[in-house]
């Protein structure tokens, strides 16, 4: 059996609350296969966001390892981790976190500024991605002129533009109405199926979780047993 795409072993993290260390993740072991769409569920405060952030390389664990495509990212220094992140991970946030002073096209183009790429190539690639999420008509709109669902689709295009291998989404539909949420989820599903991206999504919504191949539950920092 080949190594999993993402292999997490003995991962623990706690936060200091005054004098006391408050454990948030306790000895997490988790394998994520290539091409998997994983939903992380659990009550508020159970550590879902924390786990997602560790996998995405924007937070540091206390113990344990996270192997991704053969690299243990817990051993990377700050600069290498930043570089690794911009090559491997695309982020989708609950509140979209688009840059309000840039147009939809420019927002999607932004991560490419860090890549060796001509201006023309960047524009073309960003337009292509906006077309993919069905927003070709909205390239020149600013985030403030877009609906929540549209903003989240721009965010998906932005997350995809650097062609990362992993897409992480923290409650991507948490702020959307049913119809918009459905659109966003279908898009994430497509990204997973057509482009083979690993998608890791934190959600409270069982209907959202249904789109995933695998659903895992966190409870007080402990991951429940894997299904079958």
């Amino acid at each position: 059996m080949s190594a999993p795409f993402i292999g997490i072993r003995g991962l623990s993290k706690s936060y200091m609350r005054g004098e006391r260390a408050l454990p948030v993740l306790k000895n997490i072991n988790l394998d994520i296969a290539e091409g998997e769409f994983l939903a992380l569920m659990g009550p508020s405060g159970s550590g879902k966001s924390t786990l997602l952030n560790l996998i995405a390389g924007i937070d540091r664990a206390d113990e344990g390892s996270i192997d991704i495509e053969g690299v243990d990212i817990t051993t990377l220094g700050e600069a290498s981790l930043t570089a690794w992140r911009s090559d491997h991970v695309g982020f989708i946030f609950q509140f979209y976190n688009l840059i309000p002073v840039l147009t939809a096209l420019e927002n999607v183009e932004l991560p490419l500024v860090l890549k060796e790429m001509s201006r023309k190539e960047r524009k073309e690639r960003a337009s292509l991605l906006l077309g993919l999420v069905g927003l070709s008509e909205r390239v020149d709109h600013y985030p403030g002129q877009l609906s929540g669902g549209e903003q989240q689709r721009v965010a998906i295009a932005r997350a995809m533009v650097t062609d990362p291998s992993i897409l992480v989404a923290d409650e991507p539909t948490g702020d959307l109405d049913r119809a918009s949420a459905e659109e966003v989820l279908n898009l994430m599903r497509r990204v997973n199926e057509e482009f083979g991206k690993v998608v890791i999504m934190v959600t409270h919504d069982p209907r959202a979780a249904e789109k995933a191949h695998v659903i895992r539950h966190l409870e007080k920092g402990v991951l429940n047993a894997a299904p079958h």
């Binding site: 995405a56 924007i58 570089a83 992140r85 090559d87 982020f91 976190n97 840059i99 002073v101 500024v113």
Partner: protein, 386 residues
């Protein structure tokens, strides 16, 4: 890069009122700095205009005491003195007392030979020297009172009472910007002859001698030689360089000038605090945006560039406006206060300092926000809005 530039430009104006007020503050600070610096420069203009190869000899007791004309021939024979002239402070006004300006009675020929920074057309110079009642005035002074060549000018004396009539024979220009173009000169002989008739006891007295020396290094030696000539005489002399002489007027008010310089710096420090506050507020409001940029792979240097750039947009707009306004403001100063500040020029150095101030204010106000953004953990900043 253009995307980042667009971002920082637009970021600067997201909070229009706050940015506008900060820019206005910067404009006023730069304007105040420029004018105050120019006032100080104007005050020292006399010192700057002084020449290193000229000495002034006066009565050792004080400026108000005079020296006998008989010293003239003796000073001329001092080794190292190439030319000598003499004169008196005349202290008259034109029509009304508030029309005050500097006026001197000078030995005309030697004066113009030594003080070569007064530029006169040859025919005006000849006409002045030939006419015993002739006088010359600086370009600004002539403009101020609308005098033209050939005009009869009557001055009212204060030190030498009575009305004194002169014929304006020339209007001089300064050879460079440091030269005071608002002085009035006439023949010492004319003054002296009148005094001989009206106040014989005051005739034959000279307020000061001007000595041209061959080389500036000789200043110390020549001064000593002159002063030792008249040691133990009734009127002992004090000889010093023209610069030292000019400084002796300035030093009296040096404390005030230092205070003005201090104020001009304080103004910049205040705007620094205001700009730093503006930047701190802007950045605090956008921590989650910076966190999102970090997740996209932007590093410390990129984020500092955005913050410093935004501060630079604000301070350089303010400074540009301030500099643009400094020129008309200086013009206003010249027209309203020209009699106190005959030389009121904005020096290039002042503009360079304005520009440096803009860069320093931007840098200082960007440092702390940049550091905060760099240090803030991504997760904490993202939680903030959630």
């Amino acid at each position: 890069m253009p995307l980042l530039i667009k971002m920082l430009l637009k970021n600067a104006f997201r909070h229009g009122l706050r940015t506008g007020l900060t820019i206005a503050g910067m404009t006023i600070a730069i304007l105040a700095f420029g004018i105050l610096t120019t006032v100080v420069d104007a005050w020292y203009a006399g010192v700057e205009a002084s020449r290193a190869n000229r000495l002034i000899t006066r009565n050792a007791i004080s400026l108000t005491f005079e020296l006998p004309l008989s010293y003239y021939d003796k000073i001329r024979q001092v080794e190292g003195a190439t030319k000598v002239s003499y004169g008196n402070w005349f202290g008259a006004f034109y029509k009304e007392e508030r029309n005050f300006f500097a006026n001197f009675a000078m030995e005309a020929q030697s004066h113009l030979d030594i003080v070569t920074e007064l530029v006169l057309r040859p025919e005006e110079r000849d006409a002045y020297i030939k006419d015993r009642r002739g006088a010359i005035a600086g370009r600004k002074l002539a403009e101020r009172f609308g005098w033209e060549i050939g005009d009869l000018v009557t001055l009212t004396g204060t030190i030498f009472p009575g009305d004194w009539e002169f014929v304006l024979r020339g209007i001089y220009k300064g050879r460079d910007e440091t030269v005071d173009e608002s002085i009035f000169f006439f023949h010492w002989d004319y003054l002296n002859e009148s005094l001989r008739e009206t106040m014989p006891e005051r005739a034959g007295q000279v307020g000061f001698y001007i000595i041209e020396i061959a080389r500036p290094e000789l200043a110390g030696a020549v001064s000593k030689r002159v002063d030792s000539l008249f040691k133990n005489s009734l009127a002992e002399t004090l000889t010093e360089t023209e610069r030292a002489f000019a400084m002796s007027f300035v030093t009296m008010t040096e404390a005030i000038m230092t205070a003005i310089q201090l104020v001009s710096i304080v103004v910049i420090v205040i705007i620094m605090a205001v700009t730093a506050n503006t930047m701190a507020m802007s950045v605090r409001e956008r921590l989650s945006e910076f966190a999102a940029l970090k997740t996209l792979g932007f590093n410390r240097a990129h984020l500092s560039f955005l913050i410093f750039g935004e501060a630079m947009v604000i301070t350089s707009l303010g400074a540009a406006l301030g500099i643009a306004l400094t020129f008309p403001a200086a013009q206003l100063f010249r027209s309203e206060l020209g009699q106190f500040f005959p030389v009121f020029n904005i020096k290039p150095a002042t503009i360079y300092m304005d520009i440096a101030a803009a860069v320093i204010v931007a840098s200082v106000s960007a440092v702390i926000p940049s550091y905060r953004v760099a240090a803030a953990p991504i997760t904490a900043a993202l939680r903030r809005i959630a």
